[in-house]
């Protein structure tokens, strides 16, 4: 069961490197670091790996 409702996700770059994911989680836009110890990132990756969420490339 998903711990969060994630409706959008897009990578954010700094110096042309992906550093964050900007995601809408439970209706709130959050900036999530690429850290497996971060619960939001862990859930983003879990839902992405299960095919229920796509992380868009950075602008």
């Amino acid at each position: 069961m998903n711990e969060m409702n994630i409706t959008a996700a897009q990578y954010v770059q700094h110096d042309n490197v992906n550093t964050m994911v900007k995601a809408t989680i439970d209706g709130t836009e959050m900036h999530v670091p690429l850290d497996p110890a971060n619960r939001h990132y862990a859930e983003i990756m879990k839902q992405a790996e299960s095919g229920g969420l796509t992380i868009a490339d950075a602008d």
Partner: protein, 354 residues
Amino acid sequence: MSRAREFADLAGAADAGGITGRNLIINGGMKISARGTSFTGFGAGVNYSLDRFAHFHSSDGAFTVSQETSVVPTDFTHALKVQTTTADASIAAGQRLIVFTRCEGNTVSHLNWGTSAAKTVTLSFYVRSSITGTHGGAIGNGSDNRNYPFTYTISSADTWERKTITIPGDQTGTWATGTGRSLQVVWGLGVGSTYSGTAGAWAAGDVNSATGATTGVLGTLNATWYLTGVQLEVGSATPFEHEPYGVTLQKAKRFYQKVDNIQGQTVHAFNTSDAYVRFPLEMGMRANPSITPVSSGDSLHFAGTAETISARSVVAVKPEGYLYKLTVSSTITAGQAGHYDNNQVNAFKIDAEL
């Protein structure tokens, strides 16, 4: 409890790990609530409310969570309150409403759980509910695959009672010892059979309450359930440890911080369109935190001229701080310093919860 008994228990606590700092639960007295004091409108999933305490909801009911300051037991000033606003009188097997707190591995590593040297702990808490009878909860691990369900009895409606539950240490299973999610304490306010198990024994699986426990809080309109004085300690129960407010606040900020009413934060123009603001955090957090900025009500000035901010983004994060990028519509001068203001309460929410 006599003073002699209290001192004897404290001596035991010292043997087990210390007279102060023996409570493994942060904010058990419910004094810290950085996110606000009243919470409602939850979807299915995990939602944090009072610091270090959260709930998971997947049911047809609805409820509010608040920081209570009037209905509290003697010696306490705050409690966590849940009140049902839409009852779910027919909770399906896979549905549940739970309140929980999660411990970082670093905090509980000395329990040696998952080994033959696992220590016995005692959970104690003050609880009050309009629903009498047998209530349930569980201790579990961070992987949600080990559980120890327990029961406690509400003897009198709307009356504070202190409960103590002794739990033998789990000698098997995986229990995180670093910065990850380890031991969690769960109270079930309405838990279906899928997430209920036999009380008083360790078992595998994701279980949040005891089989046979009441589901009356979630199943009864306007039912109330209050919690405070939560303590988990090595050995037997001792009186609740009323630690200094500042100590609890610092512990809580390892997991959640907020930034309010920013005035004159220094900004550096990196090029003609982008400026950066560095925000140090008050203390190192458990992990790289998620950042939720408020996108309105802020302003950016260079040489006394207000610039229009066209985009905002957090571009780098560490446990000690984060870097905020502001893109402006007009042309600014690379290398110039300016200042950033944001008069919002909760201008930035910073979350490294488990």
